[in-house]
Symmetry: C2
Subunit: 124 residues, 2 copies
Amino acid sequence: MERSTRQRQAIRAALREANRPLSPGEILEYARQQVPGLGIATVYRTINALVEEGSVVAVELPGEAARYEMAGKSHHHHFHCTSCGKVFELMGCPGDLSWLVPPGFHAEKHEIVLYGSCPNCPGA
Amino acid sequence: MERSTRQRQAIRAALREANRPLSPGEILEYARQQVPGLGIATVYRTINALVEEGSVVAVELPGEAARYEMAGKSHHHHFHCTSCGKVFELMGCPGDLSWLVPPGFHAEKHEIVLYGSCPNCPGA
DNA sequence: CCCATATTGATAATGATTTATCACTCTTGT
DNA sequence: ACAAGAGTGATAAATCATTATCAATATGGG
């Protein structure tokens, strides 16, 4: 059966406690604070298991490797800091955007990403 | 100095005449109608040159390889057909979205991608 | 406590996209 | 028309993120 290991606990904790989507590398970094020897392979394995069980979802961003966040959040979008590369969660949404599509097209969903600087980075 | 070859003409024409962003593979396909022996390496080389000279811009999409479109268009967004994978240009924009970002963040730009089915694909 | 085995970590392998190489070809100034 | 050298095509090689491998380790039911 599935076992509860320190590694998995640390990875779950990282995703639960970070209030923003994390890349595999960021998850590794966070979780290593609890489990120093943690390897990247275990991070990927665990992410995949969590996505498969539905408790975590992938956040895809233009030209970037996927980030991961806890599932079950309401519809929202993301902010990508162009300075540090961190991705943050935004709340709110402009609403239905299907008026943007020409006749013949059918819009089913949308993704919005805002870019700029986060509070920790020089306003550039 | 820079030479005007059939290959470059065909690649520029493909990008100019397609009224949507093209992937390197799509550019190859289109341009080969004019220059049958065209190789993918030339497509990449030419794309890079065109981007560098500023006449073409990359269109990055979540979880996808970049597409390329002519530069100089006014602010717009894109539609990604989930059935055929083609990317289309949309006109219009919900406008300023900086109200979405929390205090301390500074939004400089945004990207919006709509997903759904294009006129050529089954509404699925 | 013990052992079957799920899990891990290090690293090799993969897959997909993009770039470098190099001999040959085509463009262009003269 | 000619020659210098920019450009091309085929393909090897480089990236880079992700996955597979496998010996060693740690979990947890009995």
